[in-house]
Symmetry: D2
Subunit: 342 residues, 4 copies
């Protein structure tokens, strides 16, 4: 099997695993009060150039989204997201499970448009029925998006300004953050992100860790009882060190960024392979998720060669949209094999 | 004040009130186990020609929707509704409050289209990510819709057949049911409705009662513990007789239908008044809610004359969409006054 | 049937009903923005001697408890109640339905003891595992209690002082408030109550109304979005006037207090009837609920005479605890009949 | 620091870690569909002698309890637990967060008594107010309990028979299961457990794993959509292999049982150390948690020696209840150090 199915088909990056091995024998405090969590937090604050950041480590993306959003919203409020946002599509109702509505607005290339957001908020406030509706309590975007696309620094700023104007926290889901930050043409840095939203998370599960996401509240604005809310959500690890040690390794010697860059280079080479063979793309993605249009025939042929990828959905009767994903672990030989069999 | 703002600006129909007065001195059992609830249930079953119906009385529409939907859905399921469905817009998140997602699909004139529903369900089942999504567990429509429009008997049947094919209960929100049943051109009867959905409710609050909605599970299919779920939702009245007595009156001597018909006649006369004066309509509604396009100037003028209606939203810079509602209580003189001041 | 089963087996007090009749023809605004709600609020504020009070009308007790408690608690908090508190026993989990725990502590004669509360709170704060526990976010008591007993002014003050010290809002469930206020020996007045808790409700359903409870936030401390939370809970009446008109009548010419006093006088006469015949009481209640120990033989005999009461539970093999309730509607002849048949 | 504070202060058992290292480079399917999850499931089924078992791996105890319980209960039901049950005390309201009540009954030495359970269930069914109460929908016990105590095979069977009679699923929380199974005098085996409850979990986090609990539904009785419910709870790991690999190692060559036995031997030696020095115990525990009564003076003295343990709570003014925990990782030298410094 050669898998381009997702960025979580491999174990941990060797350096992450090594840090787990070398610290395994030590006794540490539980629930995230260990020295490795402390060390990782300091390194992340430095990388974000954000000494006021408050950082929490959780095991996975869905639990991170549900816990962060539930910690911010009041009971009568919902979270605004584009229709294609992960929380609105593929989290099995984890947000509604916390009793909050995902208020969906139109997307463009998987992205939220500042004007569309502004229009929605303006109309909400000027609607005579507002008091019978769910109040928007925060805004959620993903970087990169579910379609691999990216906001420019200017686009992010525009959204952030709308949020500021309406006094709504902005939350950025960074499940694949590194793959966005290291993409060609991207002009958003970690410090820029930290100063242009209220909370975001740095995805580890898809970028080098066995599991783990690092939530960054950017200005001492975590809920006073975030720890309790974490526990209530079943999102508090007894051996919190498992997460701390991994992020400690990821944020040592630029590892997180270097391995993210590797995935981008592999993705761009993959893109060229498809282009060279005349394939069209469903969307132009600069990151590690590539959406290619393949004939049903080609799909069958690749499956026979034991090449695994996601059958995203039908394009038309003869063709299918297929998702090919690279990661920190993708090898050049895997792309050679793909190229040979296309 | 002459109000066309809603169909709940008046008290009870005199015959409903009279029944409350004449039964007031009697002692009855509580929680809906009284003789008047029993009597009303029998009359409703007869009107529906549905001896297998199970009937419950609740005080208001939002609590009815939340209680019915929560009693049907499993924890991992959501309810399918058009975007403009009441549960998706103006119930303040009451469905999400029960931890269930409202899965919204496109509407046409406020209505659900059987083909659109079928497409959504087909795609859901053929989506590789289905197991990460909220499962559709039931379908919700309103009759009349939020825009006053109606399904034909054929359209309802088509939706019902799709639901049957996918094994999903169909729930019809009848907050204004009488106004739909008695509309010109409507070809759906109460027995037809009862045999073409799994559960619906007969709105009382907007049609002659002080409060009260009658839920009809059409084939002995109420949740075995619906009573408990009602109590858990805070939707169980200690003096259940208040609801039973009112529906007992409404379903005596055709009252519910007669007073609904009155509202329709008033609405049609109102429609002709607007048409005669050359006003356009935002949507063509055969029921008691009329959506008229008025210039901002006209809006101001009517307000000065103490005529109350709903400012639905802007049509364009110079014009506004306005909702005018008639009810069982609308008087001919009120329409005269409107006509004179247009 | 002669019913002593509950205080909600009758309709409305005639004066309450009369006010509904005489206002029925008027057009009013919906959702509680009508003149009768306004008038009732002013009268209640005056009766409480509390110009800073904020008042909301809801239809029933369980929905009132769930809405008030959910509006006060943060997501990680619970409400402290004695084990026998109504929210902990007979509301079908309506509080847990809002995702909050009822934290139960020991009761004495159905009452909370200030010292027991203090001990619980002290221990909670000094427990090393507190951050893994549900935080106490407010305190709930009932007046009268589920056993008909009453707090003295001093006992209430002691509990209130503990709440103040721990910065916890105190909520008093007054489903039968009038029957407590008008009991012999009671030294709590409405103004005293209003100045010794943060929120309470004045029960109408059990005292003269068809339905309705008046929530009193005592110092402008209602949640800013209480209206939305009400709607979200399905606890907002479209025709809010139904509640306003009734409370307007109840708080005119001392009606609420006079009819409450009547129930007490009937209860005390009933008590004497049982005492004269040598029956024992399960608990000494000064209010309208009396808990008598009857032999199984006597129970059968009374049932044969069509006298209805609540079989509360077994006392021992030969005897049963039975609850007899009077209300504003209890007639002297009904007690005569009971006396004759004992 | 020498820590007896908890059984999750160490990393993974070396053999568990080694298996993670040796499988790290392989590509596997995500979400638990990998070969290591499959292998671990087969080994666990064999160890339970239960070919009909359905097994799921989750990351931690609280999320396991919340997900299992929510998958079993209907909306109007609660879970019965003793007052000291973990779900009732130290899970921050994670069960109530799923909208279900924890119905608490009296404990004895941290255990549930079959007769007490039977009495509660009998009384519930014979209570006239049952329909206004939360229905018992399942029974929860822990093995070992929060106080380290154990049910005998007969006691477990008695509870199971009560559950069978009332048609309630029995769920056994085995966060420390191995430490119970390997205790001196224990007569419950894994196959016995699997045939005397409906679902249980095998704790990994506290016994050799970095994280992970293995849920065993004992007779093909997992919820058909357990996978979705897991996702909805944020309890589905993208790299499910992390859990599968670890349990694969734990259930190879008797590792889980051997390392559990080690902890017991260390605990028994610790017990003798305390006994030899004349200390009293708060409760007689045969497992890895020991509750000793220490004078406040002794507590201070041990802290000075950098010996860490849990200050459970005050015993009286001069003495404290202290919890000392051993684990698979406890070393003889650590006990030597404790002995020397007592």
């Amino acid at each position: 099997m050669i898998s381009f199915e997702s960025d979580y088909n491999n174990g941990a990056h060797p350096k992450v695993l090594q840090h787990l091995v070398e610290t395994n024998g030590e006794q540490t405090l539980s629930y995230g009060f260990d020295v490795y969590c402390d060390s990782a937090k300091e390194k992340i604050k430095a990388a974000c150039d954000d000494p006021d950041a408050e950082i929490f480590f959780l095991a996975g993306g869905t639990q991170t989204n549900a816990t962060v959003i539930d910690s911010i919203l009041h009971t009568y409020e919902g979270v605004v997201s584009v229709e294609t946002g992960h929380i609105n599509t593929h989290e099995a109702g984890a947000i509604e499970f916390t009793e909050h509505k995902v208020i969906s607005i139109k997307e463009k290339d998987g992205k939220m448009d500042a004007q569309t957001l502004d229009d929605y908020l303006y109309n909400f406030l000027h609607d005579g029925n507002a008091s019978h509706s769910v109040y928007p309590g925060m805004v959620y975007i993903t970087f990169p998006t579910e379609y691999g696309t990216l906001y420019s620094a200017r686009e992010l700023d525009e959204i952030f300004q709308v949020c500021r104007r309406y006094n709504l926290p902005l939350y950025v889901d960074g499940a694949r953050l590194g793959y966005g930050l290291m993409a060609d043409g991207n002009d958003i840095t970690l410090p820029y992100l930290a100063s242009h939203c209220d909370v975001f998370y740095i995805g580890g599960t898809k970028i080098g860790a066995l599991c783990g996401e690092a939530i960054v509240f950017t200005h001492n604005n975590a809920h006073e009882h975030f720890f309790n809310i974490q526990k209530q959500h079943g999102a508090l690890m007894a051996k919190g060190r498992l997460l701390g040690v991994q992020f400690d390794a990821l944020f040592t010697d630029n590892l997180y960024f270097d391995i993210s860059r590797h995935a981008i280079e592999m993705a761009m080479r993959m893109k060229r392979i498809f282009q060279a063979k005349g394939f069209r793309f469903f969307i132009d993605s600069p990151t590690n998720q590539q959406f290619v249009i393949l004939s049903n025939e080609t799909v069958k042929q690749l499956c026979k060669k034991d090449i695994v990828f996601t059958h995203w959905g039908p394009f038309d009767k003869q063709n299918m949209i297929c998702r090919f994903v690279t990661s920190w672990a993708t090898k050049a030989e895997e792309l050679d094999y793909l190229e040979k069999n296309l």
